[in-house]
Symmetry: C2
Subunit: 341 residues, 2 copies
């Protein structure tokens, strides 16, 4: 509650001196006053008025963390284990760096621009922005921005992105499935935005096929509804397809787990009759039985990287590697079986 002016009065010095003490400009203050001002600062529980600082510096200590949800879907995306882990990691890093986190979800870019202008955000972390929006935002923002999981149209701009090596993930997964004798594999994602993480993974899958001089038709990529009942229908159709799929590759552990259970309840053995794979390697992958063969990504590390990059940009540093691509690694468990020749 105490202001600089009040502290100055109590200590019998000028506001400037108090400000100097606060900002550690100790060279400009005599040891005795330094001590006295410091004790008053502590006893009066001085807390800077961030509004005044924002006004004076025209920048706040707030970092905006914005998650994009799909247009016309007002539900939260925070239930996803990946997003909650990454948010947890980001919150911690921001806090430890002495900044504050403003959490927001939106589905259109003007929202972001307004947010930055209103709050004079010191930096911005944007999660799951589509390529087109990223371009617009990058051009209109002067604030440092780091994207997470954004796939850009290659328009020559330099983006700061914490990406995942999705293509490699799809490749390794598929290579493994192919090595186990699978040839009819269906791929599932709940979004088919192109370019997007799911389509990148599918590209990786194509590469694995190509290495064996095989081709992976585009219609093997299926969009999964976000509605439970719709998904159940989809699973049902798969099991009667002819010739049958020998493997179902889901780009999310949760849906993979759901499919495993769907199959088991109808007597379709996993991996006996159909193999299933996931993506992310979160709690779900380890909870279902058989445990999922999946692609691991380190959500914590990625949140950490994003904040580290952003802080560097905020300090005005130029990053050697503007964009990082986190590695993935295949986790082989029990949900994939060998297809007899």
């Amino acid at each position: 509650m105490a202001t600089i002016k009040q502290i100055a009065e109590k200590a019998g010095v000028s506001p400037t001196t108090v400000a100097n003490v606060i900002h550690g400009r100790t060279a400009k203050v005599s040891p005795s006053t330094l001590e006295r001002v410091r004790s008053f600062l502590a006893s009066e529980k001085y807390a800077p008025n961030m509004g005044a600082i924002m006004l004076a510096r025209s920048s706040s200590r707030i970092i905006g963390v914005v998650i994009f949800r799909e247009p016309r879907r007002n539900e939260t995306v925070l239930e996803d284990p990946f997003s909650s882990m990454i948010i947890g990691a980001i919150e911690r890093e921001i806090r430890e760096a002495g900044y504050y986190m403003m959490l927001h979800t939106t589905d259109h870019e003007e929202d972001i621009l307004r947010l930055v202008a209103k709050w004079k955000l010191a930096g911005l972390i944007l999660i799951w922005v589509t390529g087109e929006m990223a371009g617009i935002l990058q051009r209109s923002l002067e604030t440092p921005v780091v994207f997470i999981d954004c796939i850009f149209d290659d328009d020559g701009q330099e983006y700061h992105n914490v990406a995942l090596d999705d293509e490699q993930g799809g490749y390794e997964l598929t290579k493994y499935l192919l090595s186990m004798g699978h040839r009819r594999i269906a791929y599932f994602a709940d979004s088919g935005t192109w370019p997007g993480t799911a389509t990148m993974r599918f590209e990786g899958a194509k590469r694995a096929y190509a290495e064996l001089a095989l081709s992976l038709p585009d219609d093997r990529f299926k969009i999964l509804s976000k509605d439970y009942d719709e998904r159940q229908k989809t699973y049902g159709q798969l099991t009667v397809s002819d010739p049958p799929y020998t493997a179902l590759a889901f780009f999310s552990d949760y849906y993979a787990a759901e499919a495993v259970i769907y199959c088991q309840e109808r007597g379709i053995e996993v991996p006996g009759r159909v193999s299933v794979t996931g993506f992310d390697d979160n709690l779900f992958a380890r909870l279902v039985r058989p445990r999922l063969t999946t692609v691991y990504q380190d959500a914590f590390l990625r949140g950490h990287q994003a904040v580290t990059m952003l802080l560097a940009l905020m300090r005005g540093e130029t990053l050697e590697t503007p964009s990082v691509r986190s590695p993935v690694s295949l986790k082989i468990r029990e949900s994939v079986g060998r297809v007899p020749e």
Copy 2:
């Protein structure tokens, strides 16, 4: 980027008039200027400087959402499905009400006091605060506060709390287990803070025992480590206890699911040889096989309630029911079996 003053200049009116237009005080502005000012506001993309507003009004449009983590544990608590769901719900409500959300985790109360003072928070939602801290915070804050899942020592103060009927949850669960013939039941939580949600649930369990003129010894309440390996050890000890427990009641679906899997991997049938129950009814409960008999709570609803209460308090309203206690409901699935007489 444009300020009120700049807009005023362009429109050829005074800043006050522009402010009147912004604040909808249309009665004080002639239709023609209203129109002109409005068009300038739009074309110049006026965005209020929140710092200036904070300074002038000495209150911000920010609602602080603070999650308490245990002292000396610096990990994130956001991975928990309950916390991510409730945060998702809160974010949405705050945004739709025209406020902004500052997300923070901490383990000591002075942090909160500083946060409020620095940012002139309009309101505060505190999740999982311990009883003692709640008292301190309630006394030292003038800002409206709503607690979520806080169990207070009864010190006569009036708290605004969005609680869960934990006692009833423990009661219903236990009553059901008793009705299925179980008598040796062990209860598990990862925190034994008293008073706390877990101990409340255990109290409910005692009540169910008492109704049958049975007694539930305190040592049936066990603390589960947050470390995976430690927990595995605990599960191991249980299965060799003599006489054996016929039911294990976990106060979290995740641990329950973990225990189910532990048992299955060692050939201990669930619910054949031991029954298992969870709490919360989240994704884990439905994913594991057998699906968990558990106690349902509506995280979304509770987030919504918390924000609704807070907004009312911020408007200066007095709430008829300062504290709400959300109902729980028993979900009977397949993880509990009948004990032969």
